[in-house]
């Protein structure tokens, strides 16, 4: 079982399209679109969202929303849900947040970690120089790994790294970028041959560095 995702948008096309896009990177994750009103207009429907939450209930549900009233409808639906505490609303951009959440759910992360993966997309990138100021303590584990796959760091590897790390209890930076943020990793624009310097702190620091060593060393399973 994995965490299920519900997409609440004013537009049925947006909800369907975002779900379709995210499903491409997370084939085993149930992603339910709940867009538009009952009669096919632009808007949000409590009934549609409640039905999706019902269908998604089980191992935790994370909800992604678009504009204002989608958030309010999702909050209302969550209050009516059989187990309101199992429904988490992610405060994240819909498309990027959904993709990051789907990737995290695919790797088996729990609902809180899936929500966090979505919201990590939102956080402004920390400038490496500032990051060094913040991390006064030496990291618990480090490693340097060379990108060996042809395409280097693109969307799929970034998603794998961010997804896997979001399920671990560790703060990880990769060349200064937040390892749990797919967008920050992609912004490194690291090509084949680039050495990734990994610094990890927290209980799962060694596990996180080991995870990156295997992932990068195997070329993310790509040529």
């Amino acid at each position: 079982m994995t965490v299920r995702l519900v997409v609440v948008s004013h537009s049925a096309k947006i909800a369907d399209g975002a779900a379709e896009l995210a499903a491409q990177m997370a084939p085993d994750v149930l992603i339910l679109p709940a867009g538009g009103t009952d009669d096919g207009r632009i808007g949000t429907s409590l009934e549609k969202v409640m039905a999706a939450l019902e269908q998604a209930s089980g191992d935790g549900v994370v909800v992604l929303t678009d504009l204002g009233s989608a958030v309010m409808t999702a909050e209302s639906a969550a209050e009516f849900a059989a187990d309101p505490d199992s429904v988490l609303l992610a405060d994240a951009p819909l498309v990027e947040g959904l993709v990051a959440a789907a990737v995290a759910a695919q790797t088996g992360a729990d609902a809180a970690a899936v929500k966090d993966a979505a919201e990590a997309v939102y956080r402004p990138p920390v400038h490496p120089a500032e990051a060094e100021h913040v991390h006064q303590q030496p990291p618990d584990a480090t490693g340097d790994f060379e990108l060996v796959n042809q395409a280097g760091m693109h969307a799929r590897p970034a998603a794998k790294i961010a997804g896997g790390l979001s399920a671990m209890d560790a703060d990880v930076t990769v060349n200064g970028a937040d390892g749990a943020s797919m967008t920050e990793l992609m912004m490194l624009a690291a090509g084949k041959g680039t050495v990734l310097h990994v610094e990890a702190s927290g209980p799962d620091a060694a596990k996180a560095v080991g995870y990156l060593e295997r992932l990068v060393g195997s070329g993310f399973g790509e040529p």
């Binding site: 009103t37 009952d38 207009r41 632009i42 808007g43 949000t44 429907s45 409590l46 009934e47 504009l67 204002g68 009233s69 309010m72 409808t73 909050e75 209302s76």
Partner: protein, 208 residues
């Protein structure tokens, strides 16, 4: 004499009539600062409420407001759905199973409705939203509840809500779709504050 389920049904019926009568006005208000669907959405929502009331006549005022809450949340479509839905739901919860609402209970229920809107929409006074109609309304209700006259409470709330709606004209929108317009939202009246004043005026009319 307090307010009974007959009052609640009359209130909702007068609200539905007001939304139908002011549909175009609310659309015109929403056009420059929103997505010009508020009049349409409110009219559709309250028409659906009328259908539900006819299907299953409620036995208490609280039951009537709860039915209204669920219907508006499902049928309105825009932000007004969850906002008014939460307002009616919280008011229904505050009323419980009472069949005779006194002035103090009425003021408490109106306060619960306003608090529900604030909790759902996270707007504060001065943000150019329906909260700017509801907050003066509940203050006026609380100030008059001591006299024990429910009609006086409802009239005071309606008048304060109407003044509150007018007070949104010079405000800079900080919540909802209008907030994307920034300075350009100044000089327009908030459609949610206007529909709130209409609904509270209907509540007073139903008690006459």
């Amino acid at each position: 004499m307090g307010l009974d389920v007959g009052w609640a049904v009359r209130w909702l019926t007068l609200s539905a009539q007001a939304m139908a009568e002011h549909r175009v006005e609310l659309i015109e208000l929403d056009r420059p600062i929103g997505d010009s669907d508020h009049g349409e959405n409110m009219d559709r929502g309250f028409k659906a409420v009328m259908d539900k009331l006819a299907e299953a006549p409620p036995e208490t005022p609280g039951a009537a407001l709860k039915l209204t809450a669920m219907t508006l949340m499902s049928k309105v479509g825009g932000a007004a759905g969850p906002l008014y839905g939460t307002a009616f739901l919280r008011a229904a919860t505050a009323l419980g199973s009472t069949s005779d609402i006194d002035a103090a209970t009425l003021a408490t229920a109106l306060q619960a409705a306003r608090d529900g809107i604030v909790a759902r929409g996270k707007a504060e006074s001065g943000d150019k939203t329906m909260v700017d109609a509801w907050t003066p309304a509940i203050e006026a209700a609380a100030a008059t509840a001591g006299d024990g006259d429910v009609r006086k409470v409802l009239l005071a709330a309606a008048e304060a809500a109407e003044a509150g709606a007018v007070s949104t004209d010079p405000m800079l929108a900080r919540k909802g779709r209008a907030s994307y317009l920034g300075e350009r939202s100044i000089g327009h009246r908030d459609p949610g504050a206007v529909s709130s004043a209409l609904i509270l005026r209907a509540a007073a009319g139903a008690a006459e």
